[in-house]
Symmetry: none
Subunit: 211 residues, 4 copies
């Protein structure tokens, strides 16, 4: 019977790899986990499969992780780190003083491309991993995205006469998330995304300025 509640320890690592060889093994397991999720889905993920694809023994898997879910958690953590690094890099380069709409469009595009890059993995994580929302990394990402948004908002508020209503920030995040998710995971490839992102950026900017 599948479990329905998860303990923090399900997602914790057992032992941090010390030597270089250990680090490589752990990395191989996490990568193997990603490949299997993409190709076989969460139901096709097993510790034995991870060991095989990673080229390590099953014993080594349990040396470092208490079970497959901890490897998934680590994978999500790594992906969140990638998002964070990308956002920080972009933020340093951006100058939203000139044009709020351009800045908005720029970020939407960046996030869209990152999601596209991990399309199949993202699909499985979102639509199949039952505990995704309980993972520390997921929770942390949501918090950080809010902070980035709020910081950007405060920053630009000085430049523009921003008059966002109370719920606008919430509607923005959920709307953008809904659109990007559909665009990346559901919409047919035929649907041209650039125009949609243009329109989305425009509308979001309008929400910010006009309230």
């Amino acid at each position: 019977m599948g479990q329905i509640r998860w303990k923090v320890s399900d997602f914790a690592v057992k032992k941090e790899p010390g030597q270089a060889r250990s680090k490589a093994s752990v990395q191989a397991m996490v990568q193997a986990c990603a490949r299997i999720l993409e190709r076989r889905g969460y139901a096709g993920l097993s510790t034995n499969a991870i060991a095989e694809v990673a080229g390590v023994s099953i014993g080594s898997v349990y040396e470092y992780f208490p079970g497959k879910d901890a490897i998934v958690a680590r994978l999500v953590q790594d992906m969140v780190a990638e998002v964070r690094a990308m956002l920080e890099g972009r933020l340093a380069l951006t100058d939203s003083r000139n044009d709020l709409n351009s800045a908005m469009r720029y970020f939407l595009g960046a996030i869209y491309r990152l999601m596209r890059k991990h399309r199949e993995l993202l699909r499985v994580l979102v639509f199949q991993v039952p505990y995704l929302h309980q993972l520390p990394a997921t929770r942390q990402l949501e918090i950080e995205l809010q902070q980035v948004l709020m910081a950007g908002l405060d920053y630009t508020r000085e430049q523009y006469a921003l008059s966002a209503q109370p719920h606008t920030l919430y509607l923005m995040t959920t709307s953008v998330a809904g659109t990007l998710m559909h665009l990346v995971l559901v919409a047919p490839p035929a649907m041209e995304p650039e125009g949609i992102l243009d329109a989305l950026a425009e509308k979001m900017t309008a929400w910010l300025i006009e309230g």
Copy 2:
């Protein structure tokens, strides 16, 4: 090993129940499926569990369904039928000629309440059932929602000077979906939904009218 591709026959019924008793059995299985999904998640769903909860023998399950996924498919079909019935009922009662914003708000509220009612089941279906988007009923629902929206749009277009841009309809559906999903499945109960739905309706109406 979990499968990654599903055939149409995985979701088909084996035999339509003829007698009243058979109908009751099938209904019991579908209801049992719903209860187990809510309480134990997709990983906790098994054909044996369905038989036990439904109070029928495991043999009977395979008499009517090729496997558990066909029962899930049937459950989704029933839920889609419920949505459809609700929407049709609402549409008949609504007169959007008077106030586009009120009509919009009215529908958002109706959908929100229906989603709330099936909160936990919806959560499992969306975040755990790997083949949800491949189900005929799911695909059909998306098409019908589009049609309802377009029909409503055509109807109201005569009343108002609607000037929606090419992508507006797409952005509306994805934004509304994203907001409702978050509101129902992710947001803390403390977050007061009525105000958010007010704001959402207002913004969506504005998109329609102002383009």
Copy 3:
């Protein structure tokens, strides 16, 4: 890591066999368990081995028992039932009024022969099964043996001028148990048991009569 505390449910049967075929399967599993314990010891007992020796599938084992310990518990239960049946049969046949020493010798011999019969199985149960003393059947047997002894004592007390001291009954049971255990499980076969049982019966009778 091996467990150190056992729950009652570890020893309970999952489902009572109803049909004749089921009963035969369960009996085959219990017999297989006995054969494996005799030949390979408790460390060599596994659910897979039980299934193989019993000629049933591993699935069937778990159909009726939650694990191997429940099968061991059932085996002990059956053996206790055999002891009980033997004792009751002997008691009905015995007339201790004539000769207390003969009656004592008679019972010691009967118990000794039963223990001899299950020599290797008994050895493994006593010296290897960690939870033997926690089993309901074991506890029950101890209680019943005390009762039989006390009843016999009360009965014979009327015939003889029995003057057993307070601790004599306790010393009798532990001494007899110690001697029989050693005789059956430890002593070399060369050691002629009949003479020892004669001497033991004589001494135990003396304890009873002379206090």
Copy 4:
């Protein structure tokens, strides 16, 4: 699959520790083995656990012992040495010429207290370690106990008119063993042991003198 026959080499040490540090490591492993047996039982004993509790590496364990059973063997050896030392010390202090019953009582009490001291460890060794009776130390202890008893008997035979029958010595050892085992490992703590030991000593002395 657990083994059922043990070779002498399973219980032999690989290498005698030379330096002081090595001696300390070996001692730590043996002590760790005792602690684990007490707390987790034989099923909870593993070489990895021994290494961890002893604070040495798993490699070191295999440097000095061929496996966990050799460590158990060494532990039993140490315990037997403790019994031997205790007995020799007691024997030197005892003068059984004055009172045979007092001497008997004295020894029973000494052995009882030693068994009490190692109660839980003794329970696991006796009821769970499958090869306990095959261990050289165990065999040696049985022989020595017989010798001590015989020597004491010869010595006291000169003082008293001892007329023990052929099997009396055997019955004494098995009865005493059975009673002490039950008193230490099975009987509830409520059962007052001193009175029982008094009665046992009295009866055993009587066997010696009266035959």
